[in-house]
Amino acid sequence: MLRRLLATSALALSFAAPLTAAAQDIPVGAIAPLTGPAANSGEALRQGFMLAVKEWNEGKADYVTPGGAHPTVALTVEDNNSKPEVGVSAAQRLITRNGIKLLIGDALHSHVTMALMELSPQFDLPILSAEPVSTLIADKVKSDPEKYALYWKGNYNSSAYGETVHDFVKWALENGVIAEGGKKLAFVIEDTDYGHSNADTITELFTADGWTVVATEAVPAGSTDFYPQLTKLKSAAPDLTLSVFTAVNSGVSLVRQIAEQAMPGRHMAIYYPTKPEFMDQVGDAGKGLIWTSLQFAPDVVPAHKAFDDKIQAEFGNPATYSHAHGYCTMMIGLRALETAGGTDPKAVSDAIGATDYNCLIGRFKFDPEDHTVIGGGEYLPLPVAQVQSGVNQLIWPQANATAEAVK
């Protein structure tokens, strides 16, 4: 409680901060869900943003020209309450009150980003989103490149997940990790754009290979009772069941209930096992679970451990993937301000687009056509992991594997 109170007061102070900050500080805004059910992720992203800005202003960051002159910035973070219209209001406030020259937004939600990107042509403001993945955002950019010229998407398309799952399953079939059976595929997903856009791309790729989708069960976000769905799936007997959730409680419950029900076929999880609480709560039911994508692993990657230590020292809580992604997105923005050598919107936007930067979680480079960070391969990797003896091991791509996949 006290920590939350302090955090809120700090927020209130940071709101006052731009007034006292040095006159040459460039005002930068960020929008994240700081209240409501997604506030945990929002807070993690906010901490990532703040750490990046702190290091940047203190002369300890990855500058484009090390040792050269770099601008300092004043960051204001506003809440979107996970709602697009609240996000739009917050952005307008940042624009008119703080006079921001760059907006990092939305930090987490695709649907808020869809609304925010409309502001970029209206206010001539460069906007860079952090974690949102929805392919629809990239489609929107492609539909009117001129209008969204100043908008950039700081994460790969959700179709990258689909491609990863598709490529991995192909490999797993060849190596006998998964049995092909009757090529029947089933989904249990959360009823959000995230769940559906993942299911849609995967469906498209797999049906082209001759698979049939026997069930797509979309449940409200945060659901935890899957028995009716699992009973239905059991009768459909899929060879591969894919689950997509952002809420970790749904994921934990589903994995446990699948184990209880002794579901036939293989189960593969998307996204939720990245949350640290997942491993704490899932227990034995998680044994052998295959999931994607393990992008932040302080246990096995030294650079991630060092970042975790910095977050611990600064905020007193462990780092998550969202911390790292927030940190890297903010760095991209700050480096663009340095490259642009000023706050001209087009120059800043061009500098973001020209980014080629190795940050904590991979190499960030934008596709000039859809303004989206490139996923997979040599860029932002999407490795597949498996829970083995209570620890997450990388099993694919084989080049980076830390353990053999277990059937």
């Binding site: 409680m1 939350r4 409501g36 059910p37 997604a38 506030a39 945990n40 009823d191 797509t216 069960e217 979309a218 449940v219 409200p220 945060g222 935890t224 009772d225 028995y227 009716p228 769905q229 009973t231 239905k232 059991k234 009768s235 809420a247 970790v248 409680n249 934990v252 419950s253 209880e260 029900q261 002794a262 609480e277 709560q281």
Partner: protein, 291 residues
């Protein structure tokens, strides 16, 4: 649909229905006795789950003792709420809408307070019972079967209390006519308070049995309260037995609804059914006039 699937679907429905019955019967009990519609009933579930979680993990009590402690705490909470919020409003004109408004306010207040105090993270109680019952192709974990059994026992005990004890007689007399009951020396105000405690206790039993499956979070009561209201209306507002029957019925309909259509339409089916019933039988499936 094979026999095993049919049995499993039916079992799933009965288990969901047991929870609806527990929550719904509590609302029906309060409405039947005091004509109060309590929108903060879902938060009794939420608080019970947090209490059990804190008593077992932070205070280190054994699970059954933590559960018992949580039920008693929430019953005490019901008493405080009835005394502090409900009773003062009952004394005023136009109270019936004011109580709805006040309990909606209380419900939002408690959710936000829980979020501020315990954060928006998800935590879970451990299973009370391990293992899975395997009967041929049908598999059911003991924890789920326990939900059904505990709910039936709790509802059965409440029915005994209502229909076989002096206290139950007092409740039923107050329900029929509070003023007349007072004339016969029944302390109607105290009976009202006790009914709130009993109702909160039923919600707490449901919440604690569910907590290992659900995960404990500030909003865990929200999906249940609307369903419970639907159950109460379907069963005939204020009818204890009607709410129980309707609870099981809705659980089974939902379970088959998911199997036959798709998960995302489940709640549309439930609420659509509610409105359809209101068109045809305004005072519930099992009664012909206002309760």
């Amino acid at each position: 649909m094979t026999g095993a699937i049919l049995i499993e679907t039916l079992l799933n429905g009965l288990i969901t229905g047991a929870i609806y019955a527990l929550i719904g019967s509590g609302i029906a009990l309060i409405y039947g006795t005091t004509r109060v519609l309590n929108f903060a009933h879902g938060e009794a579930m939420m608080l019970a789950a947090y209490a059990a979680l804190i008593l077992s993990t932070t205070a280190g009590l054994p699970l059954w003792l933590a559960a018992l402690g949580a039920i008693l705490l929430v019953m005490a909470g019901g008493v405080v709420m009835q005394r502090a919020v409900i009773a003062p409003i009952l004394a005023r004109e136009d109270w019936s809408f004011r109580i709805i408004a006040a309990t909606i306010g209380l419900s939002i207040f408690l959710q936000s307070a829980a979020q501020l105090i315990w954060g928006e993270g998800f935590s879970a109680l451990p299973y009370f019972f391990d293992g899975v019952l395997v009967l041929g192709p049908v598999r059911m974990p003991w924890q789920r079967i326990a939900i059904l059994i505990v709910a039936l026992v709790a509802l059965g005990l409440s029915a005994l209390l209502l229909y076989r004890t002096r206290f139950g007689q007092m409740i039923r007399a107050t329900a029929q006519d509070a003023e007349a009951a007072e004339a016969f020396g029944i302390p109607a105000a105290r009976v009202h308070t006790m009914v709130f405690a009993l109702s909160a206790g039923l919600a707490a039993v449901g919440a604690i049995m569910l907590a290992p499956l659900l995960s404990v979070n500030p909003w865990m009561g929200v999906p249940y309260i609307l369903k419970a209201f639907a159950v109460v209306i379907l069963g005939g507002l204020g009818s204890f037995g009607g709410a129980i029957l309707a609870g099981f019925l809705l659980g089974i309909i939902e379970s088959f609804g998911v199997t036959l259509t798709s998960s995302e339409w489940r709640d549309v089916i439930s609420f659509g059914l509610l409105i359809a019933v209101i068109w045809v039988r305004p005072y519930g499936l099992f009664s012909t006039r206002e309760g």
